[in-house]
Amino acid sequence: MLASAWSSARIRRYSELSAARLSDFPGAAGVRPGSLREAGLALACDEPRPLLERRLVIVTGKGGTGKTTVVAALAVAAARAGRRVLVAETARDEQVSRLLAPGGPPAGHAGRTLRPGIQALRIDPFEALAEYLTLQIRARPLVDLVLGNRGFRQLMGASPGWRELITLGKIWHLEQIRGPDGPLYDLIVVDAPATGHGLTFLDVPRVVVSAVRAGPLRRHSAYVEAMLEDPERTLLLPVALAEELPARETAELVSRLRGALRIAVDRVVVNAVAQPPFPVGLEDLDERLAHLPPDLALGALPSVPELAECARHLRARYELNEAYAALIGRLTGLPSVRLPYLQEGADSPQAIESLAGPLLAPPRREAA
């Protein structure tokens, strides 16, 4: 699946590593943070490759942009192409599972199969922490001692960052899992939290690496950072709406990805794009309607001013939508994949099926 010899070698090395215990990893195994960037590999992110060639796609976007819809559609598209997909949810309410397998039991931290080829789990930071501590400390009674300590729980309740870190650590671990014939999952799709710019979440490993001097915490954070910054494996997929605020926020997100945090991004998904309201050649229908005598007898139809005003609203909304889609392209310098606005809503399995194809379409540059 990953074509270049370099990346197969890399995968092999990771699979050897994953055969060992997490806690046994040698500290300086060549996954020094930033090393990939220095090797110039991050440049590859500017050439869009098919989405399904990545192993880890992190979908990000503010609440209301349809991030969950995109996660579900990508999982469906990948499963159709014969990939073994894992959906990793970070939100408590498991929206993707509900979309893809309505009425089923929650996937929970242990996970479950939603459909053939699609598994899902919801990463619970406390469960993940217990797993991590068990790997680290090895003695279960000691783990229970730590987790049961009131002071420790208080500390965890108030400390920023650790939930993000342990969640990403769990994703790293899932990415490392190998079956008899290679990786257990061909594609892991992460429904990233909709907080802030969505980047606070991804920035934590880098922060830990720079703030902590030595020790297992730093070492493991470096592995996670290396995974996130590896353009061969990982892609960040921003979801935006063609509106002012999401457009600006997406631009800011992309610019931060080119600053301190180097995660590959090669396209923006512009969701819920309004379709042209009128047939070709009649784009100015609102103006034509406004020309007519206001008191024209139209029987059961709305009056001329009403028809004209409705047409004007639809056209204005459409044109504004187009302008913001173009603005997203201009501000980010990235091509985009457009998903249509669905009149009946995008929260049904049928809607998801219909978006799976368009999502895989090659991204296109927006006309200026």
């Binding site: 208080q154 020790g215 309201p277 009649l282 204005a316």
Partner: protein, 400 residues
């Protein structure tokens, strides 16, 4: 409550108006509209925005970060109905600087201040520390409010994952500082890098040893030093947090909840309301922004999917006559009617989605208002004035 009473209560009787709501509903625009409406009533007004869209920021004259209020030019204000006595100032908050200011203020002396500002943990957590950003914003409101420079301060709250982070944040921060483990960690032995595990009970000692093993030598010492320095600030911080809270929840403030008409937005507004009620926040009303309205107001008419062919033909003929030459008359007439049908459905949907919210607010005797969706985004003072008129009416409508 009717609109005039709402406007009077929010714009003329209070010193602080807080706009709350989820991101993406146009909260900043409504905050600007609220401020302009107050200035139009002759008040000296400041709007404190957090993260305005660029063009709106330019229109308000706060395109660049300043952390200082800037006055809008008199000519611009006059053109939008602000009388001689009214003023409109705008300010965009620089979060990071505000938090550093806080450290400057409450640190015990310059040495403690530098120790905090230089600590690697502080540099990374000051933006991540739960709710510190929200707290800084509220702190600034308090400071400006104390100065007495303005009759009304309009606050555009930061978009928050949790509805009332800006109210709850100080408490969480203090709880954290007061927690037992933090008290243990700020033991001076830690900061000095000598691990006085002996001082602790056996269980705690074990937990700390394990933490140390995983986090690495030195990390706990950094954390400890940071917390120790921060601890010195806690008293000043605690007092101020209490004052800020009293001001925001007291008789001089009113809250306006801004929502959007979509189902998701209304759901979030409902959750917001629950929280506001739990805090006994002085909520004046709810404004739903960008609501689609049928032209001329009222309910949209019933439009048949297959209208009488004679009516369609009449519309097509009129369009064709106006266009002259070859013209797809029937296609155009159908497209116009289909467009109106589609738009009517959107109007009905907005009405339906907001109904329960409207009923809930009405039952509380508070104000429920809508601001229509305009044909273009609000990005200049003319747009802000339209918002002000729709939400608050004209100044003379207010009771004397």
């Amino acid at each position: 409550m009717n609109r005039a009473e709402f406007a009077e209560g929010t714009l003329s009787r209070r010193r602080i108006a807080v706009c709350v709501g989820c991101g993406g509903v146009g909260k900043t625009t409504v905050a600007a509209g609220l401020a302009l409406a107050a200035a139009r009533r002759g008040r000296r007004t400041l709007v404190l925005t957090i993260d305005p869209a660029r063009r709106l920021a330019d229109a308000l004259g706060v395109g660049a970060l300043g952390n200082e209020p800037r006055e809008l030019p008199r000519e611009a204000l006059e053109a939008h109905g602000v009388p001689e006595s009214g003023e409109l100032w705008a300010m965009m908050l620089d979060m990071k600087r505000t938090f550093d200011d806080l450290v400057e203020r409450f640190a015990e002396g310059p040495e403690a201040r530098d120790r905090i500002l230089r600590n690697p943990i502080y540099q990374h957590v000051s933006d991540a520390l739960a709710g510190s950003v929200e707290y800084s914003a509220m702190e600034k409101v308090y400071e400006i409010g104390e100065s007495g420079r303005f009759d009304l301060i309009v606050v555009d709250t930061p978009p928050a994952q949790h509805a009332l982070d800006f109210l709850e944040a100080p408490e969480r921060l203090l709880e954290f500082l007061d927690s037992r483990i933090v008290q243990l960690l700020i033991h001076p032995a830690f900061a000095a890098g000598r691990f006085g595990f002996r001082l602790f009970q056996r269980g705690t000692r074990r937990v700390l040893q394990i933490l140390e093993r995983i986090s690495g030598i030195g990390f706990l010492a950094d954390v400890s030093e940071f917390l120790l320095a921060f601890e010195g600030m806690a008293d000043g911080f605690r007092d101020r947090a209490r004052q800020v809270r009293a001001l925001l929840l007291g008789p001089e403030s009113s809250f306006v909840l801004v929502a959007g008409p979509s189902r998701e937005s209304v759901r979030q507004a409902g959750e917001f309301l629950d929280r506001l009620e739990a805090y006994a926040v002085p909520l004046a009303g709810v404004l739903v922004n960008r609501v689609r309205r049928w032209p001329g107001g009222g309910e949209p008419p019933e439009i048949a999917s297959e209208p009488p062919s004679g009516d369609l033909a009449a519309l097509g003929a009129a369009l064709a006559a106006d266009a002259g030459g070859e013209f797809p008359a029937e296609l155009a007439a159908r497209a116009a009617v289909e467009g109106a049908r589609g738009y009517a459905r959107l109007v009905e949907r907005d009405d339906r989605e907001t109904l329960a919210l409207r009923q809930r607010i009405d039952a509380q005797g508070r104000f429920f208002g809508t601001i229509p969706e305009f044909r273009s985004d609000v990005h200049d003072l003319a747009g802000v004035e339209r918002v002000a008129r729709f939400a608050f009416g004209e100044p003379e409508e207010s009771p004397p």
